[in-house]
């Protein structure tokens, strides 16, 4: 499996806080990799480093044969790297269609072409009925759908999903899991940050566990839930007993 994203010895400090320390992992083409860990473990910071919102103090991030450290978010996006935000950030004054069209304009500057592409993305995430709704009027699940559609409209090869399932009810989580599964089937490479373990187990082919900015474990989902370090740092002892039945 050729590697699409290679992160090597990545470090970032905020003042005295080591948000990410010497982090290395790689993601193969077509793979879905989950980044998990307790709050403050450095998951979102890693995302921000990869997508160009923060500049790494040290280390390298390579994707699409390019070095991403020092690259601005819009340039990374043009190369095929898209992300969603932990807290949904729709353009509230625009309709759903206009939001997604804004993403689609990256590949097609004509409104007609962008509209067609945007409609495809909106249909894919199942938001067609609300095409003309103002983004500020959406429910949480629809806001997540919009975030995904907007990212998809930029036609990425690598998609970074930051807690797309937070705040969803169990039914909605199932819908979101199915959606991520479909994205993966389409051939997209996905890195997902998530707290909902049920969802992670369902979508991830590999899990990277972070704690205090460092990688403490990496492996397939079954090994990770049995890993003592991971249970102690993040999952809690209760999970170790439940997990085998649940998975």
């Amino acid at each position: 499996m050729p590697e699409l994203l290679v992160v090597r010895n990545l470090s970032k400090r905020f003042g005295g806080l080591r948000a990410v320390q010497d982090l290395s992992f790689s993601v193969g083409e077509g793979e879905t990799v989950a980044l998990i860990g307790p709050n403050g473990a450095g998951k979102t910071t890693s995302f921000n480093l990869i997508t160009g919102y923060h500049r790494a103090d040290a280390g390298s991030i390579r994707a699409f044969g390019r070095e991403l450290v020092g690259m601005r978010p819009y340039d990374a996006c043009a190369l095929g790297l898209a992300r969603t935000f932990q807290v949904g950030r729709p353009f509230g004054k625009m309709t759903v269609l206009a939001n997604v069209m804004t993403g689609a304009f990256l590949r097609d500057k004509s409104p007609r072409g962008a509209r067609t592409r945007a409609r495809e993305a909106i249909e894919f995430v199942g938001l067609s009925a609300k095409e003309q709704t103002l983004a500020s009027d959406l429910t949480t699940i629809d806001e997540r759908r919009l975030e995904m559609a907007r990212a998809l409209a930029t036609e990425p090869r690598l998609l970074l999903l930051d807690e797309v399932m937070a705040g969803l009810n169990p039914t909605e989580i199932n819908q979101a899991v199915a959606l991520v599964g479909q994205l993966s089937k389409r051939g997209l490479t996905i890195v997902i940050v998530e707290h909902v373990m049920r969802a992670i187990m369902a979508v991830a082919s590999r899990i990277v566990v972070l704690d205090h900015g460092q990688k403490i474990a990496e492996g397939n989902p079954q090994d990770i839930v049995a890993n003592k370090d991971v249970i102690r740092a993040y999952l809690g002892t209760g999970y170790a007993q439940e997990a085998p039945a649940g998975v």
Binding site: F85, R89, A98, T102, P111, Q132
Partner: protein
């Protein structure tokens, strides 16, 4: 005026023709110089508002320093006219180019800041330019300013015997500004600008090169504002730093847009149509003795709009139109830029 935007296409075209025709014959019917003067000011400030609105309204980069470009336009054409005898018709374009060039370093500095800090920085740029021109005694007449040579009725030098001529120039400039805004609003640029105004980080995540789009719209906005500057000095035959770089111009540009509705095509026009005649009529009826009254009325209007119509008066017109003709307001563009 915004009524043009709603209803079936035919109705809209009809409205457009009626209003355009009315604007063209207006100076033939109303010939009182005082009235035409008010019309000219309305058109001019509506145009400045339109120029400001491209950046301040759509992309929400609240500039309070557009006087910088107004003044650069005014000074460029005046210097070319008096020092080199070059027609203001060329000077007006030269002024636009000078303003565009000036907007590059100013933008590079100011766009590092966001929100109120950006606004403050832009105020400073206009003030600095004013101070510079106060010192430029040799080629820009310093604080005294200068009157423009009166060449009588010479259209090639942008001087006219009839006031109506200025009216038509201002009308043409406004039409140009509105046409540019209309084109931008419906293109990818319009979407990008609104996206940057809504959430710059989220916009960058989906490939919007925010620094570049802000720079580009600032170039256009500066160019248009400079045209207004040249026109204004040609109209009043006088220039000095306090007039050309007047803070009032900066504030007016923002104010008419905010009152009318920022980020809407017709917002600045509606805002100016309300504010400018009000201020002119108050000034003439009260005289200079009651300077404060005019500002007080201004302030009351502004407070009323912010309290009851924080998105601007344009919405009021579309709602009223919808109620009268019982047509549901349809969303014009996907961007729903007038929401």
């Amino acid at each position: 005026m915004d009524a043009i935007k709603i209803g079936p296409r035919g109705t809209r075209a009809l409205w457009f023709c009626v209003i355009t025709a009315a604007l063209i014959v207006l100076p033939l019917i109303v010939t009182k110089p005082f009235a035409i003067d008010i019309f000219i000011r309305v058109l001019l400030f509506a145009f400045i508002g339109v120029a400001w609105n491209l950046m301040g309204g759509y992309a929400k980069q609240l500039s309070l320093g557009h006087a910088a470009y107004f003044g650069l336009g005014a000074y460029t054409s005046t210097i070319l006219l008096i020092r080199f005898g070059i027609s203001p018709w060329i000077g007006i374009l030269a002024g636009g180019v000078v303003a565009m060039l000036a907007s590059l370093p100013i933008g590079a500095l100011c766009f590092r800041l966001r929100g109120p800090y950006f606004a403050i920085a832009t105020i400073a740029t206009a003030q600095v330019l004013m101070l510079l021109f106060l010192k430029f005694r040799d080629f820009a007449w310093g604080a005294e300013g200068t009157t423009l040579p009166n060449l009588g009725n010479s259209p090639l030098m942008m001087q006219f015997g009839a006031k109506a001529a200025y009216y038509y120039i201002a009308l043409a400039m406004l039409a140009l500004g509105l046409a540019i805004t209309y084109r931008i609003e419906r293109s990818w640029m319009g979407y990008y600008l609104v996206a940057v105004g809504e959430d710059e980080d989220a916009a960058e995540a989906i490939g919007v090169n925010a620094p570049r789009i802000k720079r580009n719209v600032y170039l256009i906005s500066a160019f248009l504002t400079a045209l207004a500057g040249t026109f204004y000095v040609q109209y009043i035959y006088f220039i000095d730093p306090n007039t050309a770089f007047s803070f009032n111009v900066s504030v007016e540009a923002a104010l008419v847009s905010i009152v009318g509705g920022i980020g809407t095509l017709w917002g600045p026009v509606v805002g100016t149509a309300l504010l400018e005649p009000t201020s002119a009529l108050l000034q003439s009826s009260l005289g200079s003795g009651h300077g404060g009254v005019q500002l007080t009325v201004y302030a009351v209007i502004l407070i009323a709009v912010i309290l009851w119509r924080p998105t601007g008066l344009v919405g009021l017109f579309t709602d009223a139109y919808a109620r009268i003709f019982r047509t549901a307001p349809t969303r014009v563009s996907e961007a729903s830029l007038d929401a």
